[in-house]
């Protein structure tokens, strides 16, 4: 099954990096949508079927925490797993995001296999180990 994904980050470079790492992770990817803040992410979600959202926290206009709250409080969106991809690795912050409804949390820099593990847990799937490409040089 191919998963449609939405990457939310105000950094064009970071969106490219996450997209690249997802490709390397071995996850079967369908459509990959991008948004540069929470507000534009909600527009994407309004118009497209998305299986999982990967969102930065620290963004202008609408940050990732606000986006997470909006998704979890909207009936039609609330079942979509949201994974927070961010630099803030404090345990209190992670717990706070879990309480709001984040399905997973990954701290930058990360490796493709780290992202894969978090995404598989959030999506409730397991992926054949053979799908993982050797990625020693692709730590991020």
């Amino acid at each position: 099954m191919a998963f449609n994904m939405l990457i939310v980050d105000d950094s064009d470079v970071m969106r490219k990096v996450v997209r690249r790492v997802i490709t390397l992770s071995g996850i079967d990817v369908g459509s990959v949508y991008e948004a540069d803040n929470g507000e534009s992410a909600l527009k994407v979600l309004d118009e497209n079927w998305v299986d999982v959202v990967l969102s930065d926290i620290n963004m202008p206009v609408m940050d990732g925490v606000e986006l997470l709250k909006k998704i979890k409080s909207t009936d039609i969106l609330s079942d979509i797993p949201v994974i927070m991809v961010t630099t803030e690795g404090r345990s209190a912050r992670i717990e706070e995001l879990r309480e709001i409804g984040a399905s997973g949390y990954i701290t930058k820099p990360f490796k493709p296999e780290d992202l894969r593990a978090v995404m598989c847990e959030a999506l409730g799937v397991s992926i054949d180990e053979q799908h993982i490409e050797e990625s020693e040089d692709d730590d991020f």
Binding site: D10, S11, D12, V13, M14, K16, V17, R20, N58, M59, P60, T86, T87, E88, G89, R90, T107, K108, P109, D137, D138, D139, F140
Partner: protein
């Protein structure tokens, strides 16, 4: 400030190693070369706050950008280099924040404009680190800011 600077140095070493598989050279430089990328600035909120400013040798910045985006021997343009440096600063800032355990602080958005970070803040102390990777220098400046 000495401990804070030490923590920043450790953070930079760790993040650059994890992101780019680069280890610092044993010998560093006194000054940056003529062609540089940056500085890119990021703030740690609180009182005092801190601003971390990173300036990279241009070739080092281009190499890091290529590595980050999986480009091979391309010459990334200045916009792309600026974006990748902002992201690098963002990650360094987020990881540096961990060294302020127990304090109610956050990171600001990274910016190429110093005044964007804390417009009302006053610089009260400045410290500087010179680090080199693959024979190319980078400078990290740490400023303590009174709000």
């Amino acid at each position: 400030m000495n401990n804070t600077l030490k923590n920043l140095k450790t953070t930079i070493f760790n993040v650059i190693e994890q992101m780019f598989f680069l280890l610092p050279d044993e010998q560093s430089f006194e000054e940056l070369g003529e062609k540089v990328a940056g500085p890119v600035h990021i703030g740690i909120t609180g009182d005092p706050g801190y601003i971390v400013s990173l300036t990279f040798d241009y070739d080092l910045a281009a190499s890091m950008t290529n590595d980050l985006l999986g480009l091979e021997n391309d010459e990334p343009d200045d916009e792309l280099i600026g974006q990748s440096l902002r992201e690098t600063a963002n990650i360094i800032g987020g990881n540096f924040l961990l060294s302020f355990a127990g304090e109610n602080r956050n990171v600001t958005l990274p910016s190429l404009i110093h005044e964007d970070i804390f417009p009302e803040g006053k610089v009260v102390e400045t410290a500087r680190l010179m680090i080199a990777y693959d024979g190319c220098p980078m400078e990290a400046m740490l400023q303590r800011i009174e709000m």
